[in-house]
């Protein structure tokens, strides 16, 4: 479904991704783990078209999206909940969700999807008239994910959904992610919380300073001595 081949990305003078290849099959949860600055966020941003690639290729469902502008990539069915959530703070929860469906014209179906997001995250329903800036960190994360779902993506890119959240909330969000995935959504998950990520993903990649260090099934990564030492606290 998603194929990243030999991608090279520069951030100014910094060589942020060095020949990274990653793929995700339909229906999978794939996770990218790694330390700060390993290039995880850069990879998601390149897939979404926010940072141009120097070389390499990104294909989604067989179409080359490497040089496509971000808004068209969303239109093809790739949605991202970005690092730092980036909710529209001065707009209401409902308006945020509406913007998530910006490219769609099917009003009735948009309403259905919005109700579905409210069902997945009942707290958003309670707060639908509130401006997003007044939500707690966890609620903003739910809104960012819900908003990303509103474009009806087939591939969901999630950047650090657990960042800064209480463990209970993290578990709640991951349970919802599993539910979304169970209904057929392909998920590419970037996480610092390697434990959580490896527990819900099928396959994982370990990124280190812009390179894929290890690629394996999560069950194997959990047993891998190197991974345990570096990312799972021994």
């Amino acid at each position: 479904m998603l194929e990243v081949e030999d991608l090279d990305v520069y951030y100014g003078a910094v060589h942020a991704l060095k020949g990274v290849s990653v793929r995700a099959e339909a229906g999978e949860i794939v996770t990218l783990i790694g330390a700060n600055g390993a290039g995880k966020t850069t990879l998601l941003r390149s897939i979404s078209g926010l940072i141009p690639a120097r070389s390499g290729r990104v294909t989604f469902e067989g179409r080359d999206i490497t040089r496509m502008p971000p808004h068209e990539i969303v239109g093809l069915g790739v949605s991202q909940s970005p690092e730092g959530r980036m909710v529209f703070a001065n707009l209401s929860v409902a308006d945020n969700l509406e913007l998530g469906a910006y490219r769609r014209r099917d009003r009735a179906a948009i309403r259905e999807d919005r109700d579905e997001v409210y069902r997945l995250f009942p707290r958003l329903l309670e707060r639908r008239g509130q401006s997003a800036g007044t939500l707690s960190g966890g609620e903003q994360q739910m809104l960012a994910i819900g908003r990303a779902l509103m474009s009806r993506p087939r591939l969901l890119l999630l950047d650090e959904p657990s960042l800064g959240l209480a463990p209970l909330l993290v578990r709640e969000i991951f349970r919802t992610l599993r539910e979304i995935n169970a209904r057929g959504m392909t998920v590419l998950l970037v996480e610092q919380n390697a434990h959580m990520a490896l527990s819900i993903a099928g396959r994982g990649y370990v990124l280190e300073t812009g390179r894929v260090r290890i690629e394996a099934r999560c069950a194997e990564l959990l047993k891998n001595e190197e991974v345990r030492q570096a990312y799972l606290g021994g």
Partner: protein
Amino acid sequence: MAEFFQQLVNGITWGSVYALIALGYTMVYGILKLINFAHGDVYMLGAFFAYYSARWLGVAEHPTPLHALGVLLLAMAGCAVVGIVIERAAYKPVRRSSRLAALITAIGVSLLLENAGILIFGPDPKFFPQIIPSTNIALGGGVTISNQQVIILVVSVVLMIGLRFIVLKTRVGKAMQAVSHNHTAAALMGISVDRIITFTFMIGSMLAAAAGVLVALQNPKIEPLMGIMPGLKAFVAAVLGGIGNIPGAVIGGLIMGIAEVMVVGYLSPTYRDAIAFVLLIVILLVRPAGILGRNVAEKV
């Protein structure tokens, strides 16, 4: 007292023109964090487009309201094109460069428009045809308002309500709000950020054009450098209200207009331009974010 109310009426009329120009500054700033110094010159072009379309339509000979409306719409359409061209040709190429590069570009565009104006329209003032014959309407208590002032007020209010509707109620308006908040997040919603930026320039330029036409109704002398001072003052008005804030621009414009008329009426016409900069200094000292501007810390 009658004189005070008379000045107030004049000030509000004058201020609504500043408000229209200030809206363009504030919208572009809200979306690009750029002070579009060429905006005052777009206002000048609005007056000239109106001048030429009035001649072309023969409005001076047959001054009907319908013709006047035609002149206004043609000027707005002309400036819409100018706004789009300026954004695409001058600002878009430097969008990823430093803020300073964009600012210098803006000053360059401003100088280009002014000097191109001198070259094309000639340096001498032109007299704007009287497309609406002037009459005075008594408001009671010795206060009068001219029909031209009424038109200025009505057109300004209609345009402001229209803008408010677009920004708050329409799809493109929601997209403008999203882009002004965060380009990356907006792009991830599937919004074409480039398109929204161009649209913003177009709307702002149309409002400036309307301001140019409305001013020319009252002060029929138009010349290529006429945009400099009103442009600066409208910029101050936008800062006064809180730059990036749309209702703030309207409030700032009105304060600017009233202050200017009052100073001319009660102190001396010499201070006409000085008052704008006094207001700027005061607001920067007392409330740098502007009257409605907020510096809200974002929750992480």
